[in-house]
């Protein structure tokens, strides 16, 4: 029984991180129909931005996190302006695949830029907190608690932003039907830009959180991104609440499998689940079956 606690803690912590990574990815997929292969790199950049701000410039923690969000947002905006927008204008019918290749190019570039700037050796994220609180039998490290709470807070804030603000409404309208939104006077291109900035900011903060329990390395974002892809697919691409639930569920399953069968079987188990789910429900667990007019 005493082992269930730690497994759950680690499962929920990674679940919170996956959910945050998935949220940004799913947001962009849902509104632009664009799979951002550079999302993982945005996580990495966020982690390094916070590192630079906190330990090299000596800024306080909140400012360092803001710096991470800012860097993520700026890079997200650049990806839209330089890559996604021209590509969608030029060849809308092949956009779904070409954008994946193009954003991968962006990811490769940025990841190597980080490698050149900071070197390949892993660095410690200065924003980690030691210690733990005792919860009747097992210890809940402060770091994990902070991650879980801040991830949930960020998700809540995003949900509020999407449902309560004018910009959020425009984003949802564009996601539902870009043509109708355009006819209602929504500046669709600007909404897309906002979505990528928002997703970049979320990724930046997510990167700070991920690096606070692991270490900073140029490939920091690769693993969370791959997992986030899987969560997105299982939930149905573009479904935000579904993606969050799936992230927590699968992360706990992963933690259990890793505990029972060894760390190397966690990811294969996830993949097996995904394939089984998709054979039964090709649209994902929460995805609506899309009726496409031809």
């Amino acid at each position: 029984m005493e082992i269930i606690g730690p497994v759950l803690v680690s499962g929920i912590t990674t679940g919170a991180l996956y959910a945050l990574a998935t949220l940004g990815l799913s947001l962009v997929w849902g509104s632009l129909g664009m799979l951002n292969m550079a999302h993982g790199t945005l996580l990495t950049l966020g982690g390094y931005a916070a590192f630079t701000a906190a330990s090299q410039l000596g800024l306080p923690v909140p400012l360092a996190v803001l710096a991470a969000a800012a860097v993520g947002g700026v890079i997200g905006a650049l990806i839209f302006v330089l890559v996604a927008y021209p590509l969608s204008r030029r060849s809308p019918e092949t956009f779904e695949t070409t954008i994946m290749i193009a954003t991968f190019g962006v990811a490769l570039t940025l990841e190597n830029a980080v490698l050149r700037l900071y070197g390949g050796q892993p660095l410690g994220q200065p924003l980690s907190v030691g210690g733990a609180i005792n919860l009747g039998g097992f210890a809940l490290p402060w770091q994990n608690l902070i991650i879980i709470v801040s991830a949930i807070a960020l998700m809540g804030a995003t949900a509020l932003f999407l449902t309560r603000t004018k910009t959020g409404r425009a984003i949802r309208a564009t996601a539902q039907n870009p043509d109708a939104a355009k006819l209602m006077g929504v500046p669709v291109a600007r909404v897309y830009l906002q979505v990528l900035i928002l997703s970049g900011m979320l990724a930046g903060v997510c990167g700070v959180l991920v690096s606070s329990i692991t270490q900073l390395s140029p490939s920091l974002g690769a693993d969370p991104m791959l997992k986030a892809f899987i969560m997105c697919v299982v939930a149905g691409l573009g479904n935000l609440p579904g993606a969050i639930i799936t992230s927590f569920g699968l992360a706990i399953v992963e933690a259990l499998v890793q505990f029972l069968a060894g760390a190397r079987w966690g990811f294969p188990a996830l993949l097996a689940i995904v394939i089984l789910v998709l054979i039964r429900r090709p649209g994902g667990l929460f995805g609506r079956v899309e009726v496409r007019r031809l």
Binding site: V83, R90, I101, G105
Partner: protein, 345 residues
């Protein structure tokens, strides 16, 4: 269509002549070695082009299939003591079977879903090989994992070219790769030229219409997945045999996207696109050797820039320039005729 065939045949003959002439003019072992490597890439890229460019299946498991072919060859030689010439075709067939299993799991979906699942499969394969630490057999005093672990396999067999051609064995290996490349191109061309090629292209261009005409998307895409796996696996086997080594490095993300970049730079859905892309990128890679550390960075910029600025690649660019030139030439007499006809007498 006839003219296009003739053009492809001409290009093919020119390429073959250039490939045959190369070792007579170039003495450097390094250059021959790099061209051989480029041709391996071109073979895999041409099969990915068949899959994505001609059939619209966005699979990210191409290097996984290449690696599977290489590993299967190495393991057949290593564990069963098979001759490497027997192991390669067996491994290619095994790769096809493996690809059909992956395809059955991943091709029910389309577009980005397929891409993500195949990527996940490739990544799982990589992780399982790299993290393999359980001893399977003991070689001398060293423990060897079933999959070779992070080190991979080495010295498991020999093509026999070293004994036969002595110092010139590199050229002999090069000739083998050129032959495999030629066969692969003929095979690819025969497929896209034939009726199943039309079905593949119909599914790429308008899936709804194609399905309505009675083409099964799943079956056809599984077919092209299996077809493209054969030469990919065979190339993997020859790669392992040529270097007499295979490791998990071939399964890495950057290798996969090097292949994809070749198709993108050369021209997606153009028969000779992968070759053009392979030549350009291997040459660019060599040129960037000067600035060593920035190679991957430069590669990333090339991929993104080409995708945005010329989505049809170099061949597409060439085609549109050619088109414009021809239109200019044909339009001029027509326009003068029109104008002279319109002018009142």
């Amino acid at each position: 269509m006839k003219r296009e065939d003739l053009a492809h045949l001409l290009v093919g003959l020119v390429v073959l002549a250039a490939a045959v002439a190369l070792p007579f003019y170039v003495d450097s072992r390094y250059v021959i070695g790099q061209v051989t490597l480029g041709l391996f890439y071109a073979i895999v890229a041409s099969q990915w082009n068949l899959l994505f460019g001609f059939s619209g299946v966005f699979s990210l498991a191409q290097m996984a299939l290449f690696g599977f072919g290489g590993y299967a060859t190495a393991m057949l030689c290593f564990y069963f003591g098979l001759n490497i010439w027997a192991a390669m075709p067996l491994a290619a067939v095994a790769t096809v079977l493996f690809s059909l299993v992956i395809g059955a799991a991943c091709l029910r979906l389309s577009g980005a879903y397929t891409a993500l699942l195949t990527l996940a499969v490739a990544q799982v394969m990589y992780l399982l090989i790299v993290t393999d630490t359980d001893c399977f057999v003991m070689v001398g005093t060293q423990c060897r994992q079933l999959t070779g672990g992070a080190v991979g396999f080495a010295r498991f067999g020999d093509l026999g070219t070293r004994a036969m051609f002595k110092a010139k064995f590199l050229v002999a290996n090069y000739a083998l790769v050129v032959a495999l490349f030629a066969i692969t191109m003929v095979f690819t061309w025969a497929i896209i030229r034939g009726p199943i090629g039309l079905a593949f292209r119909a599914l790429r261009d308008n899936p709804g219409c194609a399905i309505a005409r009675g083409i099964s998307r799943f079956q056809m895409q599984l077919l092209v997945f299996g077809l493209s796996a054969f030469f990919t696996g065979l190339a993997g086997g020859l790669y392992a045999a040529h270097f007499n080594a295979i490791g998990p490095g071939v399964l890495s993300f950057s290798q996969l996207f090097f292949i994809i970049a070749m198709v993108v730079v050369g021209g997606i859905g153009r028969l000779w696109g992968p070759l053009v892309g392979a030549i350009v990128l291997v040459a660019a890679d060599e040129a960037m050797r000067e600035i060593g550390e920035f190679r991957s960075l430069g590669l990333g910029i090339i991929i993104a820039a080409v995708m945005v600025l010329m989505p049809n690649g170099l061949i597409g660019l060439f085609e549109s320039i050619w088109d414009r030139l021809r239109r200019l030439r044909t339009r001029n007499p027509a326009m003068t005729a029109e104008i002279s006809g319109d002018t009142p007498a």
